[in-house]
Symmetry: C2
Subunit: 191 residues, 2 copies
DNA sequence: ATCAAAAGTGACACAAGCGTTACTTTATTC
DNA sequence: GAATAAAGTAACGCTTGTGTCACTTTTGAT
């Protein structure tokens, strides 16, 4: 018993992602989002109190989607195939890392609502790290990973490497292969 | 025959850097900058037409400073010591990479002035890449670098790795050593 | 058909950023 | 110590973003 919505959650989140990546957190406005969705600005306030709340919801959505896929990493037995799976997944969810970084910019405690969502997102973050840590542990058990490098750094290294900007627009397959090789063996010749 | 300035170029650039890193390009305002310098907003307009111009000037300053030091890389003969020098330098100018990335967000051609400065910055960028490319070439000549990885990617890989966020606040010396090792040999055990 | 519920709109008042300008302050030079 | 040049201030008008609210539109249920 209601009117049909002019935009789905998915289109809203896609638009939010688009604006965040192009304009950054501070450059994100309801006006831009409303324009992109071809809807009046006021309509957005039916669903979200302010941009902080909307962005948190978007991030939680994005993180859940990523996490659901990430957990499939446990379908693989060996580090080798897990690593392969992870790289493919991270390139698929390419920009997540950057977007999630904006959560550090949501500092002002706008409302209880937003605070709760921040905590929720942090929980998901931890959940993600827990999955990734057991991936690293698998690599350690197989004695494949350099033992002098701490887990956090190893993970940061992988995340960061996947985000290398492909300015020269190398074809995706070669790019992925090369990045994977760099993560694995670094820039020096393998002897 | 004039009054003394309340702030030097250096303090201004430092403040600009601070605001850019914390608030991003869109979050950068003359009000914030004026507050940080304890000066009225109007005073800033004595020196800069708008924030685009100011940010460009800051970036050019930052880039020149980096470039001047970078050129000393040619005092070293072998790739090995050049690499060592570069890593130290990049950790010293830690945030440059992130800050310079904002230049891509200055798109609207505000004024001829800003356009000229953008071109100038791009020239400095190219100059930097030229120095770095000959560094890579040195590594290639010594047959140290993986020949299947393209130059641009190798450089992007180094830049990106230096930017890995040290959330767990590992001590700087261990951090630098580990990052250098990852860049060199990747995450897998060196056999 | 009618009416209730949810979706959407447009206007309002407010806040913050921008760029300009008339004005004041400070220091130097003669 | 008066003139002057540069530095700094404070207020104005303008634009853009924010959050709200009374109102209209659409649609399914009765």
């Amino acid at each position: 018993m209601a009117r049909e919505r002019k935009f789905s959650d998915k289109t809203l989140y896609n638009a939010a992602k688009h604006i965040l990546l192009n304009n950054g957190y501070e450059g994100f406005t309801f006006s831009l989002l409303a324009d992109e969705l071809q809807v009046s600005r006021g309509a957005l306030y039916k669903y979200y109190e302010n941009k902080e709340e909307l962005i948190m919801d978007y991030m939680i959505f994005e993180m859940n989607r990523f996490l659901a896929e990430l957990k499939e990493i446990n379908n693989y037995d060996h580090f080798d195939s897990q690593f392969d799976f992870l790289i493919k997944l991270m390139f698929k969810h390419n920009k997540i890392h950057q977007v999630l970084g904006f959560s550090y910019q949501i500092t002002a405690i706008i409302s209880e609502n937003v605070r709760v969502k921040k905590v929720h997102l942090e929980k998901l973050h931890l959940e993600m790290y827990s999955v990734l840590r057991s991936f690293i542990q698998q690599g350690r058990n197989e004695e494949l990973l350099n033992p002098s490098i701490k887990d956090e750094l190893l993970l940061g290294f992988i995340f960061q490497s996947v985000d290398i900007p492909n300015h020269s627009e190398m074809p995706q397959t070669e790019w992925v292969r090369s990045v994977k090789e760099l993560i694995s063996h670094g820039m020096f010749t393998v002897k």
